[in-house]
Amino acid sequence: MPDIRLQHVSKAFDGTAVLREVDLDIAEGSFVAIVGKSGSGKSTLLRIIAGLEKASAGQIETTDRLAVAFQEARLLPWLSVVDNVSFGLEGRDRKKVALDALVEVGLRAKADVWPLTLSGGQAQRVSLARALVRKPEVLLLDEPFGALDALTKLDMQNLVGELWRAHGWTVVMVTHDVDEAVRLADRVVVLGDGTVQEIVPVPGTGPRDPDDPALAPLAGRLLRLLGVPFAGRRSLELETSPTRLASSLSPVS
């Protein structure tokens, strides 16, 4: 039974087609990564699932109980961390629920500070906690770690993977990073020219060891599908010839 079903979904902005006839079933409890180049329409797809954008055509079946974490944590800077997490919740125990969620993301100690004092990784954890307290069925991640440094990113991937295992959500993650996609997802959807180019299954369950030898060829294949050859394999093609360069960049003084 699919949790999210997209049928013939199209979207155009001012006559320019961004998505064309996208069909996609996302099974309950699965972790799907959507990869694509800039402008491939992957963020638009996520925004349509989240209900932030209306499709120009097609049907979408989804659940009400969904939460989104964006690339920027998008915390309200004038509310404390715990108030951000419980923002919009009803009920007496909202503060306790929020504190529990902060414990889960490992930031209980920062409950009462202002968001602007947090590092990028911490802010992203708070944003995850804010999603957690809504007890979602579906978690949408829009390049959640794109702005983090490489080491923090590894930590955050581990956290998201563990939370996914613990809560049994359906997760849809949009990312640029094929390594991230193969580390975490069950299936990787390659988006290009507004349509699904290919769906690549990933064996095992995430979060996986990034040095797992099975992952490198997968990542390589995804990169080729995205039109980026393996780093280092590509021959260096510069339009300027070395001789011209040498003359043009001769010492000035």
Partner: protein, 262 residues
């Protein structure tokens, strides 16, 4: 070694010597030690990467090498000459492109020449530098019209137009999306191979360091000391899935105290 030969073939690159450099900042009355007795010799034309945890003082070392600050102790030498002030022979490229938003791409690149009064004679160099990063068509665009990758390319062109002998790179690709980052790494590598500057790269990304550098220096937590030095004796181009590199990567991550396994 091949590298030494290359260095001979590159008379326009310089060496950088860091001798017993320590540095600290005053922070609200407290002294915050950042660097502790750093000893490092970078050969002409070499590509060295600095790896370390957040806030470990890697960027500080680059600021010292650029001459933006003077170390509290120790000395930094460029080709044997002490570094005391910023000089266009050493250019620092920041994590943010820090383009001047009120100047067009062309004028951003021209800044260094203009500041030194060389612009009138060397206008073509600006065009050449833009061609080098394949942004000729964007010469009249303003920075806010550029994507992150394009802006970082402009920042690199702005550095290269001055014919730097030492390029200091402070996480130059840290804020780019990963696909753009891969192609920018390739471009940087090819520029280094063709232009022949000495490069010192600060990065968080172990893979990036291993793919690009001849030598990887690992810093400890603050105050930073050098805890490991790894020579990467592989010719370029390198493959990401090269088993030796994968093994090195695991070792480096372990040194940094981060387990990639779950």
């Amino acid at each position: 070694m091949a590298l030494a030969n290359e260095a001979v073939a590159r008379p326009r690159s310089v060496s950088l010597d860091v001798h017993a450099v320590s540095h600290a900042y005053d922070l609200e009355g407290r002294v915050l030690d950042v660097l502790d007795g750093i000893e490092l010799a970078v050969r002409p034309g070499e590509f060295v990467a600095l790896l370390g945890p957040s806030g470990s003082g890697k960027s500080t070392l680059l600021r010292l090498a650029a001459g933006l600050e003077r170390p509290r102790a120790g000395a930094l030498l460029e080709d044997g000459q002490p570094i005391t002030a910023p000089d266009p022979s050493r250019i620092l490229v920041f994590q943010d492109p820090t383009l001047f938003p009120w100047r067009t791409v062309w004028w951003n690149v021209a800044t260094g020449l203009e500041a030194r009064g060389l612009l009138a004679k060397h206008r073509h160099r600006v065009d050449d530098a833009l061609a080098l990063v394949k942004l000729e068509t964007f010469a009249n665009a303003y920075p806010h019209q550029l994507s992150g990758g394009m802006a970082q390319r402009v920042a690199i062109a702005r550095a290269l137009v001055n014919d730097p002998q030492l390029l200091l790179l402070d996480e130059p690709f840290g804020k780019l999306d990963s696909l753009t980052r891969l192609s920018m790494q390739n471009e940087l590598l090819s520029l280094w191979q063709k232009v022949g500057f000495t490069a010192l790269l600060v990065t968080h990304d172990v893979e990036e360091a291993l793919l690009l550098a001849n030598r990887v220096i690992v810093f400890s937590d603050r105050p930073a000391r050098i805890v490991a030095e790894i020579a990467v004796d592989k010719p370029h181009p390198r493959r990401r899935d090269d088993p030796e590199l994968v093994e090195l990567r695991r070792a480096v991550l372990a040194t940094l105290g981060i387990s990639a396994d779950v």
